[in-house]
């Protein structure tokens, strides 16, 4: 039995095997019993006719006289459409009937029966004898034979019917078993439903009344849930702590490097500046790693809410205002007067937009513009950030593939676009990365409304 078979299938196959065995056995047993019973009846009839002949025997002066009673044979003929044979003999001397009937197996007893093949058919014979007078060694023998075809047929009909009845009873039982199985599996289905419906971070124990048979399963499940909850808690704590533990020294290092930059001699300033850039880069990577981790967690929670993209764009621009100002870059939102909404995770979308704007500002020359455009098409809503910087020097999609700091030409961590891609994927949105004809990059997300 293959291990992935359903319980129903397992039960059904076991049931079927049992059914075949029982039906076969019932057929054989009832066939034998019916045959024996019918044979007994046939024997009695044959015996009766034999004794009618024996009893009709008269010791007349001109020898033995006996009657072959038509009506007794007629009774046999009425009982079944079978061929009839008879023989009357005095010891071994043939007197009347068929002279080639098979001999009796045992000669001693008064009455014996046997089945033998005679003239091409199974025939039941009775051998009856009687001494011609009291104490005489001479015996008159009567053999009556009747073919058994219809008796066998009847026996097998009985066996067939009983086997069919057993089969029908089994089928009804199988139906009942199917119903009981369905009923017994209900608690399993309920536990499964409970697990399927709960939120990803819901590790509360399954608290329903379960039958004793599956209490252990539920207990084990609850223990596992508890372990997972603890594991997740530890994981979160680790990320938070690790981020904090790494960020703090980097920040201290950055401050120290900035102070050092002012104090060192001019010819060394260049080296210290590189140190500062590297420290900032490290700080950024840590931040983005944290963002990615938290996004992955949010994705698991499957958060769905109404997000006003225009508002989102405006709030991101406000956050970037100081940086933009320091680089003398003008940030603007290009959106229709009415609000444009999509369903999604607000925090994730915000992170994606932050990455895009951050990238755009970083690659924009001084005194240029960065625009966030929000617009609605027939079936899509687009959120695009465009700048007038250097644009993509390689094929845009390759920029993402080469992740984590390899895109040095844009001096980014490289994690930014991979975050955007992840958010796009989560919202089933298309990621747009292209160069503008008049120069600069055009990056964003295109959401499908359906």
């Amino acid at each position: 039995m293959t291990s992935n078979w359903s319980i129903r299938r397992r039960l059904f196959s076991l049931w079927l095997v049992m059914l075949i065995i029982v039906c076969g056995a019932v057929y054989l047993v009832t066939g034998t019993i019916a045959k024996k019973a019918l044979e007994r009846g046939q024997d009695n009839d044959l015996n009766a006719v034999a004794f009618v002949i024996l009893d009709s025997m008269v010791n007349a002066p001109n020898g033995l006289v006996f009657d072959l009673p038509y009506s007794a044979f007629e009774v046999l003929a009425y009982s079944a459409p079978e061929r009839l044979f008879y023989q009357v003999a005095l010891n071994d001397k043939f007197l009347a009937g068929y002279d080639d009937l098979p001999k009796s197996a045992e000669n001693a007893s008064k009455v014996s029966f046997r089945t033998a093949l005679y003239r091409g058919e199974e025939t039941r014979f009775v051998y009856a004898s009687k001494p011609i007078k009291f104490g005489s060694g001479e015996k008159i023998w009567v053999i009556i034979g009747q073919t058994s075809g219809s008796y066998f047929e009847f026996a097998s009909t009985i066996a067939n019917w009983i086997a069919v009845t057993v089969f029908a009873a089994f089928c009804i039982l199988a139906l009942w078993a199917e119903l009981s199985l369905r009923h017994s599996l209900k608690p399993f289905a309920a536990v499964e439903k409970d697990l399927a419906q709960r939120a990803a971070d819901d590790f509360s124990p399954i608290s329903r009344n379960t039958p004793t048979e599956i209490t252990r399963l539920v207990t084990t499940l609850n223990e596992t849930l508890g372990q997972h909850q603890e594991l997740l808690r530890q994981n979160r704590a680790f990320i938070a702590e690790a981020t904090h533990q790494i960020k703090t020294p980097i920040a201290a290092m950055l401050t120290a490097a900035e102070i050092l930059e002012r104090e060192v001699a001019d010819h060394q300033k260049e080296k210290v500046h590189k140190l500062i850039v590297r420290a900032r880069y490290a700080s950024k990577i840590v931040t983005q790693l944290l963002t990615r981790a938290s996004l992955a967690y949010r994705e698991m929670l499957k958060i769905r809410e109404n997000v006003n993209l225009t508002q989102l764009a405006e709030s991101v621009i406000r956050a970037f205002d100081p940086i933009a100002e320091s680089k003398e870059i003008e940030l603007s939102v290009d959106a229709p007067s009415h609000s444009i909404n999509i369903v999604g995770d607000k925090v994730a979308l915000r992170e994606a937009l932050v990455c895009l704007v951050d990238n755009a500002i970083r690659h924009s020359p001084i005194l240029s513009e960065v625009t966030i455009s929000v617009f609605q098409g027939e079936e899509t809503v687009s959120l695009i950030v465009s700048d007038h910087g250097t644009g993509f020097t390689t094929e845009p999609h390759l920029s993402i593939e080469a992740s984590l700091g390899k895109t040095e030409n844009r001096a980014s961590t490289g994690l930014g676009l991979s975050i955007v891609k992840r958010v796009a994927h989560y919202h089933s949105a298309d990621l747009i990365l292209s160069n503008q004809p008049e120069g600069g990059a055009r990056c964003g997300l295109c959401f499908r409304l359906s």
Partner: protein, 328 residues
């Protein structure tokens, strides 16, 4: 004729002893031949065979007419494989042949028929009646039962000549006498009464009918009715006596010999024989439907049952004790 000739040649060549045939006949032009061995007069069954070969143009039917004893002998010695069907009114011999395993199953295809083991099928009947001469013996007009006949013969002072089938010579006679004996315990007193008169058992229906027609015999007991019919119109004094107590009828039966080359041929013919189409082509008197008719007059018709018990009457021992009693 070509077919019949070939059949006869085959018989001469293969049989242990050639069949003594009373006639050979053939109907139809089909390529494949169904050979029937029977006791019937061919004229009687010819319309059925003709119609059969009309419906089934593939077949022609060859009919070999022989006596029932000859058929019995040939059956025991082994029939030629070309013989597809054996038809006879000697029901006891037919039963014996089937009981001894010389027949094979006839596929009746669900048709209703009287049969034994689906091996011996009743295809027509021969009702049995008695006849008398109304002119010479008008007293028989009033007789209704066999007991009345006994009384009438007892009271009659005339030396009546009484005829019946001789059971010692005629198989039909023996069969009918044994059936009478079974049916009616007055049978032996009837025979005794007969024996007080000028009792003249005869071999054949024709002889008995002629004797009654001519007024030579007063009465003929147990005559096959279908043989009387043609004489009724020309002999106004010939009267049929139908007993009210019971009337015998001999079934004509058919079996397909086990030795047959193609048992299906015989089965096919039997199946046709019991259809109403075929029955309608037989003389009305011998159709199977006669058994269900109340219009025939007389008492209940008791056809001899197709039973293996009939074989015990054929036993030489049983025959011996019957004739002992007959001759007493």
């Amino acid at each position: 004729m070509r077919f019949v000739l070939s059949i006869i040649l085959i018989f001469c060549a293969f049989s242990t002893r050639a069949l003594e045939l009373e006639g050979t006949f053939q109907v139809g032009n089909g390529q494949s031949q169904i050979t029937v061995l029977g006791t019937n007069d061919f004229e009687r069954v010819k319309p059925v065979f003709s119609r059969f070969s009309e419906i089934n143009p593939r077949y022609n039917v060859a009919y070999l007419q022989a006596s029932s004893r000859e058929i019995d002998r040939a059956t025991k010695e082994g029939l030629h494989p070309k013989i597809d069907l054996v038809m006879s009114s000697a029901i006891d011999l037919q039963i014996k042949a089937v009981n001894d395993g010389f027949a094979t199953r006839i596929d009746l295809n669900g048709l209703l028929a009287t049969h034994w083991r689906e091996e011996l099928v009743q295809i027509s009947v021969e009702p049995i009646v008695s006849i008398y001469n109304e002119k010479t013996n008008p007293e028989f007009n009033k007789i209704k039962t066999r007991r009345e006949l006994i009384r009438s013969i007892e009271q009659s002072s005339a030396n009546l000549r009484i005829m019946m089938y001789d059971p010692k010579v005629s198989g039909v006679g023996y069969l009918l006498s044994r059936q009478d004996e079974l049916q009616d315990n007055a049978f032996w007193s009837l025979i005794r009464r007969f024996q007080t008169k000028e009792f003249k058992p005869s071999c054949c229906s024709g002889e008995m009918i002629d004797a009654v027609v001519s007024g030579e015999a007063a009465i003929a007991y147990n005559v096959i009715e279908s043989y009387i019919l043609p004489k009724l119109n020309e002999s106004p004094h010939l009267k049929i006596l139908r007993f009210e107590d019971y009337q015998l009828a001999i079934p004509r039966t058919a079996f397909v010999p086990k030795s047959s080359d193609n048992p299906d041929l015989g089965s096919q013919l039997v199946r046709y024989f019991i259809t109403s189409d075929a029955q309608a082509r037989l003389p009305e008197l011998v159709r199977l439907s006669v058994l269900n008719k109340q219009t025939r007059g007389g008492g209940p018709t008791k056809p001899i049952r197709l039973s293996p018990a009939l074989t015990v009457h054929l036993d030489p021992m049983a025959k011996g004790s019957f004739f002992d009693r007959w001759d007493q």
